[in-house]
């Protein structure tokens, strides 16, 4: 008796009780659906984080003043100032593997064009910053080192700022913009970068030479860097090594005793990324538990229904045995029935999971990613549940005594 024959008989038996079969398979459907949704969410979040990595620049370290106990605001100027301009120079010149380093001083200020005004981040930095962040211009050019040397009143605008001040398709290069009521000339517009992992809009910023920032925007604290320092290492392999070297250099320069805590922080982007993934992990864990419980309950449901089915069909089993079915034929019949139930449930679950993943991806704004191997694994797993929980009822059916089965009312 062929396998195909067995499958045909099983599917027919299931289709005689469509509603019951569906309800029985529901546990598997939900379980597999949860697995699929879970993986899609995990993959989507991962892709999003990787994308964010790429947009933040490669091999990036961010240095902030203040100990980790007095956590400074990222890129802000509120924390205790401990990093000096001399520190920055030392990092640039003394640490091997440092490709570039740029200061990043930031405040919130109003910027005004001819018609509009907009409150945004105004940041003082050096031309290296654009390179560190791999952030090219969509029009115009970045300010130069000589702009920094002379303290020129020039500005590079993020795309969001351009949209707000000049309109969506405008190119304001060459025009004037007022920052804190001082006239600046727009020299460049940066390409759109999108959102940071924390949902902050990278393009909502105006960048000016750090010397101009210090002279015109900031007041006091001139020996200290009232912000952070972006450092790029020569390669991603060198990032951790660079982090160690920068730390050693700064501890030495700040005369910290071995037991003293750092009076600065170095953020490696992997940390930020892992914090970001933490959020999706909760959701993933929840879905994984739903999946596990559903598959277990689904399996028990299948076992239950198969036991009922064996009892209901005792006479049928007797007839089949009388006309020549061997115990293994009966075993195969009920096993394949349980298997078909769970695998069909698995297919429905994959459909449901993909649907859910699609909705979630749309909601969170990340790419819809699905791995074919996960679908196969999920289907394989549902099959395993079917065989695992179908084995006992099928075995019972195959051990029935033909005479008693035939006599069963």
């Amino acid at each position: 008796m062929s396998l195909w024959e067995t499958v045909r008989i099983a599917v027919r038996a299931l289709s005689r009780n469509t509603l019951r079969s569906f309800l029985t398979a529901l546990g598997i459907i939900i379980g597999v659906g949860a697995v699929i949704a879970m993986v899609a969410i995990g993959e989507g979040a991962k892709a999003r984080v990787e994308e964010a990595f790429a947009s933040m620049g490669t091999n990036l370290l961010v240095l902030m003043p203040g100990s980790s106990a007095s956590r400074g605001v990222f890129g802000g100027s509120g924390s205790l100032p401990t990093l000096t301009w001399a520190d920055l120079k030392a990092i640039q010149e003394e640490v091997t593997d440092v490709r570039q380093a740029a200061p990043y001083l930031r405040t919130t200020a109003q910027v005004v064009s001819e018609e509009q005004n907009w409150t945004t981040s105004v940041c003082g930095t050096t031309p290296e910053y654009f390179d560190i962040r791999s952030w090219p211009m969509s029009s115009g050019a970045a300010f130069t080192s000589s702009d920094v040397d002379t303290g020129a009143k020039v500005a590079v605008l993020g795309r969001t700022v351009v949209d707000k001040l000049y309109g969506p398709n405008a190119d304001p290069v060459g025009q004037a913009v007022r920052i804190k009521n001082m006239p600046f000339q727009v020299v460049g517009v940066m390409v759109r970068k999108g959102q940071s992992p924390t949902g902050q809009d990278y393009d909502d910023a105006v960048l000016i030479p750090v010397s101009t920032y210090r002279a015109k925007i900031q007041g006091g604290l001139q020996n200290y860097i009232a912000g952070s320092v972006f450092v790029s290492a020569v390669s991603s392999d060198a990032t951790a090594r660079t982090e160690r070297r920068v730390r050693a250099l700064l501890r030495d320069r700040h005369h910290l005793s071995p037991e003293a805590e750092d009076d600065f922080q170095i953020r490696n982007l992997t940390e930020i990324a892992s914090a970001q993934q933490e959020g999706t992990r909760t959701l993933t864990t929840l879905l994984a538990s739903i999946a596990a419980v559903s598959l277990l309950v689904g399996g028990i449901g299948i076992m239950n229904i198969m036991l009922v089915s064996v009892t209901e069909r005792t006479r049928e089993i007797g007839v089949r045995m009388a006309v020549g079915a061997k115990p293994r034929h009966i075993l195969a019949q009920f096993l394949v029935e349980a298997l078909s139930l769970s695998v069909l449930g698995g297919f429905a679950g994959v459909g449901l999971g993909l649907l859910a993943a699609n909705r979630l991806a749309a909601q969170f704004g990340w790419p819809m990613l699905m791995r074919a191997d996960i679908i196969l694994i999920a289907l394989g797993f549902s099959g395993l549940v079917g065989v695992g929980f179908g084995l006992y009822p099928a075995h019972r059916a195959s051990r029935l005594d033909p005479i008693e089965a035939l006599r069963y009312e």
Binding site: M1, E316, V319, M321, A322, V323, G324, K326
Partner: protein, 242 residues
């Protein structure tokens, strides 16, 4: 000629706790190829037990059973299933057709387990149904057939594997007298075509179709008479039963 069925001092004891029921007690019986045997006897005398043994659905507690010269009383479940499939055909009192399954598919059932390919299966099942006079009813389900028609489907199912023996335990027990006559005519025809038939009945006029009547009493063979078989329906007409 070598007998087809040889029971040699067969005993079948049912044990229920401490109680022992001797359903068959030292029974010896042989049936030749082409024989037509009716087994009669009071309720509980062991007729069905005997049929189950002959049908390889059960094994004797002691004694030997030779089917076509082969000792089958000690075979395992798989081997017995194969013998049932190849050599025996069953007809039950309660038809035992699969519900919600068409006549032709019911008849195909033994061929599935014989490993016959689908197309040939269908052809042979249709042929068997034609032989029992149901060629117009291939796709009818049991619930769409009369009792007599259902029993004829069951007979077709018993024949389809071309077995050596048809075993019928009270095949007319659920039928009225007119359809009983039809079913008996069919069995008589099959016997005339060379098939060995063993049937259990309570009805003397059904037993009259057989060339040999074995009477059971308390698990033993009480009498075993051979005579010329009467024509079907030739016995005194009875009142139609409900």
């Amino acid at each position: 000629m070598e007998p087809l069925i040889v029971l040699d001092r067969v005993t079948r004891i049912y044990r229920m706790g401490d109680v022992e029921v001797r359903a068959l007690d030292d029974v010896s019986l042989s049936v030749e190829v082409g024989g037509f045997v009716a087994i009669m006897g009071a309720s509980g005398s062991g007729k069905s037990t005997l049929m189950n043994l002959i049908g390889c659905l059960d094994r004797p507690t002691s004694g030997r059973y030779l089917l076509e010269g082969q000792e089958v009383s000690r075979l395992g479940r798989d081997a017995l299933a194969e013998i049932r499939n190849r050599m025996l055909g069953f007809v039950f009192q309660s038809f035992n057709l699969l519900t919600r399954t068409s006549a032709v598919e019911n008849v195909e059932l033994p061929l599935i387990y014989a490993g016959v390919p689908a197309a040939e299966r269908r052809r042979r099942a249709a042929e068997a149904l034609r032989r029992v006079g149901l060629d117009g009813r291939l796709d009818h389900h049991p619930s769409q057939l009369s009792g007599g028609q259902q029993q004829r489907v069951a007979i077709a199912r018993a024949l389809v594997t071309q077995p050596r023996v048809i075993l019928a335990d009270e095949p007319t027990g659920n039928l009225d007298s007119r359809t009983s006559v039809e079913v008996m005519a069919l069995l008589t025809d099959l016997n005339a075509a060379g098939l060995t038939v063993v049937l259990v009945t309570h009805e003397p006029d059904i037993a009259a179709c057989a060339g040999r009547v074995v009477r059971m009493q308390d698990g033993r063979i009480h009498s075993d008479e051979r005579r010329a078989a009467a024509a079907v329906g030739a016995a005194a007409p009875r009142e139609a039963r409900p």
